[in-house]
């Protein structure tokens, strides 16, 4: 019966990949409709009921577009870069749990676990795949052999590397609170309180860093048309461009799933431990709400200037994340030493104070002129 287990794995992996691919198509529709609603427009509503066939029409259009390869591009790398961007955005989803381990889900007499992979270094796996994702951008920018693409690629890479540190520290708070790096343990540790309640500033830092990490507004440097035409994918067209686009939206879905898992209780919800198949439904609801948050941010905030983006990353987010890690560790130690979990309330209180201090500092720096901006000599 060994081959059945392999089959279950393959089917689950296939299902997850398909979920992300279809999710990408309908996320574009969701985003356009939601943006339109916020901006008092109608949005795509012609193809099919509510414009539901619009993503399919877009896909057909992109397939029939001409694929240009610049004459002086480095062909192999130019061809590989969209793939290298695309693959991490799918495989990163492998460790996300979609339902509880107990009680088990049975199907045709086989136990089906509601995750693809359960590794004991789940959080680190997420970090490592996120760090591989940078390669697609840097290689796309370089191989196009164009100044705009090159500068755009370097800029986005610098941005992603900078915010990766903050992201890692936000993960550290979660690891400290859960006492484990396994995603399942992290979710189960949130059965009494979601981590967003214990560490609200950590969740905020995480969500901001994630926006920068997937290059979404207001940190969407690669799409700054006014400055560098388009950034690293300026020379790409047709399906290759569609792959970059796809990777971005899949990353949005995946990071929403990760945020839901580490801060918003994952698959937890009422009755999930009686009917485990409710888990994926709760996950989906949380993902859709978080995705709406991302779209809302895009509709509301203007793009941050690049030097301010870097200054914000290094001078605000990083110290704040370090302070939060310290506060979390301190609170846990206090609760352990004094033997009463009531002392864990030190964590939200102190971290909100730290967050308020950070906001006040940013406000002062912005109202006082020429402090966050780089002064050319």
């Amino acid at each position: 019966m060994d081959w059945v287990i392999w089959l279950i794995w393959i089917v689950k992996g296939f299902f997850l990949a398909m979920f992300l691919l279809v999710g990408f198509a309908y996320l574009t529709w969701y985003e356009r409709r939601a943006l339109a609603r916020i901006q008092v427009r109608v949005g795509p509503n012609r193809a099919g009921p509510f414009g539901l066939l619009q993503p399919i029409a877009d896909a057909v259009k992109l397939i029939f577009k001409e694929e240009l390869t610049p004459a002086k591009a480095y062909k192999i790398v130019f061809f590989l870069a969209p793939i290298i961007t695309m693959v991490p955005s799918i495989i990163i989803a492998a460790v996300i749990p979609w339902g509880p381990q107990e009680p088990q889900v049975k199907l045709f007499g086989y136990t089906i676990s509601l995750y693809v992979a359960d590794i004991n270094v789940g959080v680190l796996y997420l970090m490592s795949i996120a760090s591989i994702a940078v390669y697609g951008i840097v290689l796309a920018g370089w191989s196009s052999n164009s100044k705009y693409a090159m500068l755009g690629g370097l800029r986005s890479t610098a941005q992603m590397i900078s915010y990766e540190i903050t992201l890692g520290l936000a993960f550290v708070t979660v690891i400290l609170l859960a006492g484990s790096m396994r995603m399942l343990d992290i979710v189960e540790a949130q059965r009494s309180w979601w981590f967003v309640v214990i560490q609200p500033v950590g969740a905020a830092v995480f969500l901001i860093a994630v926006l920068a990490e997937v290059n979404r507004a207001p940190f969407d440097m690669p799409e700054a048309e006014q400055e560098l035409t388009a950034g690293y994918h300026a020379e790409y067209s047709g399906m290759k461009f569609a792959l970059f686009f796809m990777a971005e939206y899949q990353k949005m879905i995946v990071v929403s799933a990760i945020a839901a898992t580490v801060f918003f209780g994952g698959y937890l919800g009422p009755f999930v431990h009686r009917w485990p198949l409710l888990g994926p439904i709760y996950m989906l609801i949380k993902i859709i709400i978080l995705l709406f948050g991302m779209i809302w941010v895009r509709a509301t905030w203007p793009r941050v200037r690049y030097d301010r983006l870097m200054a914000f990353g290094w001078k605000v987010m990083l110290p704040l994340a370090l302070a939060i890690v310290f506060i979390t560790g301190f609170g846990i130690l206090l609760a352990q030493e004094l033997g009463d979990p009531i002392y864990l309330t030190v964590i939200p209180a102190a971290s909100i104070v730290a967050g308020v201090i950070a906001v006040i500092m940013v406000n002062r720096a912005l109202t006082r002129k020429r402090i966050l901006s780089y002064e050319p000599r």
Binding site: Y74, N120, V121, L124, M127, S131, I132, V138, W142, L154
Partner: protein
């Protein structure tokens, strides 16, 4: 041969081949990419050895941070990506001989070590490798001193980098 042996041989061959390509290819970006492939191969070897933590850390630090820094530096500093100089110098045969001697010496030493032929035991499912590692890093009778010394060294490097990069206004 078992499946794991076949996987190991494939991965080891891949790692060695890409390591060779790092030093023989003339395009600097290609060399950097082959270096990434080599490091990835090493990570897979860690994973085969049931050291999942090391494998993932290898990817995060070496591929995600160090190799990307190499690529950055190459892209920012070089206009021409091709290295045109000779790839060998006069000492090539002596170098090859020394490398061969070191290889023979190492193999000799390792073959006399009794862990060389031992078969790895299956780890129990609830064996907490990371917890053990973490405790070993901060316990005084294990690796506390090297750990702290390494962090002081890194701090010194950090301060040095800031000093070098800082220009007085």
């Amino acid at each position: 041969m078992t499946i794991s042996q076949i996987i190991f041989l494939v991965v080891a061959g891949f790692t060695l081949a890409s390591a060779l390509m790092v030093v023989t290819t003339r395009n600097l970006i290609h060399a950097a990419l082959f270096l990434v492939a080599t490091l990835f191969g090493v990570a897979v070897v860690y994973a085969i050895l049931q050291a999942g933590f090391l494998a993932v850390v290898q990817v995060v630090i070496y591929i995600g941070a160090i190799a990307i820094l190499f690529i950055f530096a190459v892209m920012l500093t070089r206009r021409d990506m091709r290295d045109r100089g000779p790839q060998m110098n006069r000492m090539q045969w002596i170098g090859a001989l020394l490398a061969l001697l070191i290889f023979i010496g190492l193999s000799f030493l390792l073959s006399s070590w009794d862990g060389y032929s031992a078969v790895a035991q299956e780890m129990p499912a609830d064996f907490d490798t990371m917890g053990r590692l973490g405790e070993a890093l901060v316990s005084p009778d294990a690796y506390l001193l090297p750990f702290e010394v390494a962090s002081v060294l890194l701090l010194a490097a950090l301060v040095g980098a800031v000093y070098v990069a800082y220009t007085r206004r």
